[in-house]
């Protein structure tokens, strides 16, 4: 009895003490006016950047993951042979100082940078490159290496010429290959030793050559990186980087305004004023993506291009994009983003014309359509597919078409798309490598979860094949412009928007930029 009473009183005392302490520190926070919640850690905070994103990375092994949250972290740890220019998807030297491509496009020779070391102290050399590529080629490749076939699918073999020269032999000419090597998934070079030590899976033990090295990953909370002092190039300005995971968009905004994060991403347009009025800044990066609505071209009534055009005419895309994304996505006139080679300002989709739409649809007897959509926000559609479908539903009702919507979470949605039971579906694409083929091929792919319009046009396919083999340049770009024109004329898709990436950052953060491939290079960013 006595013992029990004493225990109880102890617990009670502890609780009261906790509550008291909380109250005290709470009031302390309020006097600090929320600018720096952890006032005592200011000095530590000075050399630490906190980047808040929506979710944990899937993992930190570039061969095993496919998501943007992982990519953002990995680009600071790893490097590939090539990298993208800061403002475009033009490729530049990375771990390879220079390269030669044979005239037939079947042999690539890379001359590697000398004196580069992995963060575990091992040397970067031709063997490491061979190891990384062969890991993603048959027979070693596993089916869960999501980008292996995309990046290295056209590679036949890899040869070590000498310690700093690598030769890659191709099965067929593939112009996008150089762009692929600059990608943040599949292409980055991982320390072979780390892979061997960790059973060929460095999801939780990443080790590359980049400006930051991995410290820790607390699941659900954060990944901590620290400066790689042995980095071969310009060393990182800020000592530590913390990627913090805050799922909810508005909570991420609160975190930024409260000083719990220095930079946040994945926000939508509605919070911009809130961020700016708190004295923080907005970074607006063009997005390498397309948000679209696709017609099921294998099924009546949308096997008829006229009906497709009529529906496209019914939707006022600029108005829809303006209110749904509040100006933080550009209404799309083409499939390719505007900065992409092959984009042409002359391409136009079916123009908004209610009367024309009405009469065509009435003639064709289209009174109802079945739309399917996804219920999660996607990088190309921050407002989520449901809101988009509902908006389109509103437009269709004005031309006498009643639309029913079925929304699914992403996993189920992909199954439904595969099953093909829909008239219209909503989809989108985030570019991988900055090459136009990466976008236009979506209308030629045989996989129905890629080619959701199930568009099957032999001329279009032939042109796609020609584009892949044609060396980069104006001639190749024209091919893609032509493809755009075919797609627009056939009204296969109704391109809706190119989502911009919106980031918020605190006013003392300098030199922050967000690359159009959806990643952030933080080594140049400092906190004033």
């Amino acid at each position: 009895m006595k013992k029990r009473t004493r225990l109880l009183s102890f617990v009670l005392a502890a609780v009261i003490a906790c509550a008291g302490l909380t109250a005290c520190s709470g009031s302390k926070g309020s006097t600090a006016s929320g600018s720096a919640l952890a006032s005592g850690t200011k000095s530590r905070a000075q050399d630490t950047l906190i980047y808040a994103q929506g979710a944990d990375p899937r993992g930190l092994d570039p061969a095993l993951v496919d998501d943007g949250e992982s990519a953002k972290i990995m680009v600071n740890i790893y490097e590939g042979l090539l990298k993208y220019d800061k403002d475009s998807t033009k490729v530049e030297p990375g771990l390879a100082e220079s390269w030669d491509v044979s005239d037939d496009g079947l042999t690539y020779t890379f001359h590697l940078r000398k004196g580069v070391k992995f963060q575990d102290g091992t040397d970067f050399n031709a063997d490491a490159v061979k190891f990384n590529i062969e890991r993603q080629l048959p027979p070693k490749v596993t089916e869960d290496m999501g980008y292996a076939s995309f990046v290295y699918g056209s590679v036949k073999s890899v040869e070590v010429v000498d310690q700093y020269t690598v030769k890659i032999n191709m099965k067929a000419a593939c112009t996008p290959f150089l762009n692929n090597l600059a990608m943040c998934l599949g292409a980055p070079i991982v320390s072979p030793k780390a892979l061997q030590d960790n059973n060929n899976n460095v999801n939780e033990h990443p080790c590359g050559t980049g400006p930051y090295k991995f410290v820790s990953w607390t699941k659900g909370q954060n990944v901590v990186l620290t400066r790689n002092d042995n980095y071969w190039g310009t060393k990182a300005v800020t000592k530590n980087v913390i990627f913090k995971f805050i799922k909810d968009n508005s909570a991420r905004v609160v975190a930024l305004n409260n000083g719990e994060a220095d930079i946040i991403d994945g926000i939508d347009a509605t919070v911009v004023s809130q961020i700016e009025s708190a004295g923080n800044k907005i970074y607006e990066a063009p997005g390498m993506n397309i948000n679209y609505m696709a017609y099921n071209t294998t099924k009546a009534p949308f096997d008829d291009a006229k009906v497709r055009t009529a529906i496209s005419q019914a939707v006022n895309v600029p108005e829809l994009v303006k209110s749904l994304y509040q100006g933080y996505a550009d209404a799309a006139t083409s499939i390719l983003p505007t900065f992409m080679p092959g984009y042409d300002a002359g391409i136009k989709q079916a123009a908004y014309d209610v009367e024309a739409a009405k009469s065509t649809l009435a003639k064709a007897g289209v009174k109802s359509v079945h739309m399917i959509t996804y219920s999660n926000p996607r990088p190309y559609n921050t407002a989520n597919g449901q809101a988009l479908a509902e908006a389109v539903q509103g437009y269709l009702s004005k031309v006498g078409v009643k639309a029913t919507i079925d929304a699914y979470d992403w996993t189920t949605y992909k199954e439904k798309v595969k099953a093909g039971d829909y008239d219209i579906c909503f989809y989108g694409w985030t570019g991988d490598n900055g090459d136009p083929d990466n976008f236009m091929n979506l209308l030629a792919d045989k996989d129905p979860t890629m080619n959701v319009a199930r568009y099957n046009n032999p001329d279009f396919k032939a042109l796609i094949d020609k584009g892949v083999a044609t060396p980069a340049g104006d001639e190749r770009n024209k091919i893609y412009t032509e493809l755009e024109k075919i797609a627009a004329k056939d009204a296969v898709w109704l391109p809706i928007s190119h989502g911009k990436t919106l980031c918020g950052y605190r006013s003392n953060v300098k030199d922050f930029y967000y690359h159009m491939t959806g990643v952030v290079f933080l080594s140049g960013v400092s906190k004033g």
């Binding site: 509605t270 209110s323 219920s375 809101a387 908006a391 539903q393 929304a407 699914y408 979470d409």
Partner: protein, 304 residues
């Protein structure tokens, strides 16, 4: 005087407490009368009646089509035209809240109907038969109870897909064990009563005994549980909707509205406030009524 201890006649009047004017009457009528004296429960009842009217005649009082988007009118603050403002897609929130009443009440009532029916049947069988049947059924109920109902409902929804009908099934299914337990408990205690025994002796069929003699006796406990169950079901529906697993668009479900409003809490707080109030009010009303019914059922509580 010798050692005789005779008790004086005891009167009906208790020493201190109040129940002075009570006459023995039928249980439900008694419950109703006691309910009428309970201001809180009456308030709940009136709010529920109001909500039912709104659900029935909602389309008549809705100023706008709740489901039709109009991209020219997105995010209008509450004003005389749009009392609760408009949402991202330019839909009138007032109309949507009204439309949501019907959805929430439908889901609440149907889900309770499902769990009630299955729960009562399972509980009756378990309680009446006893033995192995009882063990098997109740162990199964234990298993279901051991999984948090919201997780179970989420898993159901993820498997079945979104939709009003599916939400009803998911929510109805996960609360079967509660009813089964209550019914079983009541039946166990009623089973040994004389009149049930008598019915058995004269050879009534089991199902007849259960429906004719036992269920009416457990009815009042079930009524209470079901009333409170509706409030739980409304909350669960909202939770599923909030997680994006509720109804198919463009249906106006309160939880779904909250889930979408979450992104606009600072720019358009009214999108978050009104559906939340609607949920709270509905749940509150059913809780008030349920509490009132429970108190009315339990004379011991009533005195307090």
């Amino acid at each position: 005087m010798s050692m005789q201890h005779a008790e004086l006649p005891k009167s009906e009047f208790p020493e201190q407490t109040a129940d002075l004017l009570e006459k023995p009457e039928s249980r439900l009528k008694e419950m109703w009368e006691s309910l009428c004296e309970d201001k809180a429960a009456l308030t709940g009842l009136f709010v529920i009646l109001f909500l039912v009217l709104v659900a029935l005649f909602g389309p008549l009082i809705m100023p706008y089509d709740p489901n039709l988007s109009n991209m020219t009118k997105s995010f209008i603050w509450p004003n005389s035209e749009h009392w609760f403002g408009t949402d991202q897609l330019g839909r009138d929130i007032f109309s949507r809240v009204i439309a949501g009443t019907r959805i929430s009440l439908t889901v609440g009532l149907s889900a309770v109907a499902i769990s009630l029916t299955i729960g009562v049947v399972l509980g009756s069988i378990a309680g009446y038969r006893g033995g192995k049947v009882d063990t098997v059924i109740m162990r199964f109920m234990d298993m279901m109870l051991a999984i948090p109902s919201i997780l179970l409902a989420i898993a159901f929804m993820a498997a079945l897909g979104k939709g009003l009908d599916k939400a009803v099934i998911a929510i109805g299914f996960v609360s079967i064990p509660e009813y089964a337990r209550i019914v079983r408990g009541c039946i166990l205690s009623v089973k040994e009563n004389d009149y049930v025994q008598a019915a058995r002796v004269i050879g009534n069929k089991s199902s007849r005994i259960i429906f004719k003699h036992i269920l009416p006796n457990v009815l009042s406990s079930i009524v209470v549980r079901a009333t409170l169950g509706i409030s739980t079901a409304v909350l669960d529906t909202a939770a599923l909707g909030f997680l994006g697993l509720g109804v198919q668009p463009p249906a106006a479900e309160w939880g779904d509205m909250l889930g979408r409003a979450r992104g606009f809490v600072f720019t358009a707080p009214y999108t978050l406030i009104f559906p939340g109030i609607a949920i709270t009010l509905t749940v509150l009303a059913f809780n008030l009524l349920g509490d009132g019914l429970r108190d009315a059922l339990d004379p011991k509580l009533r005195k307090n």
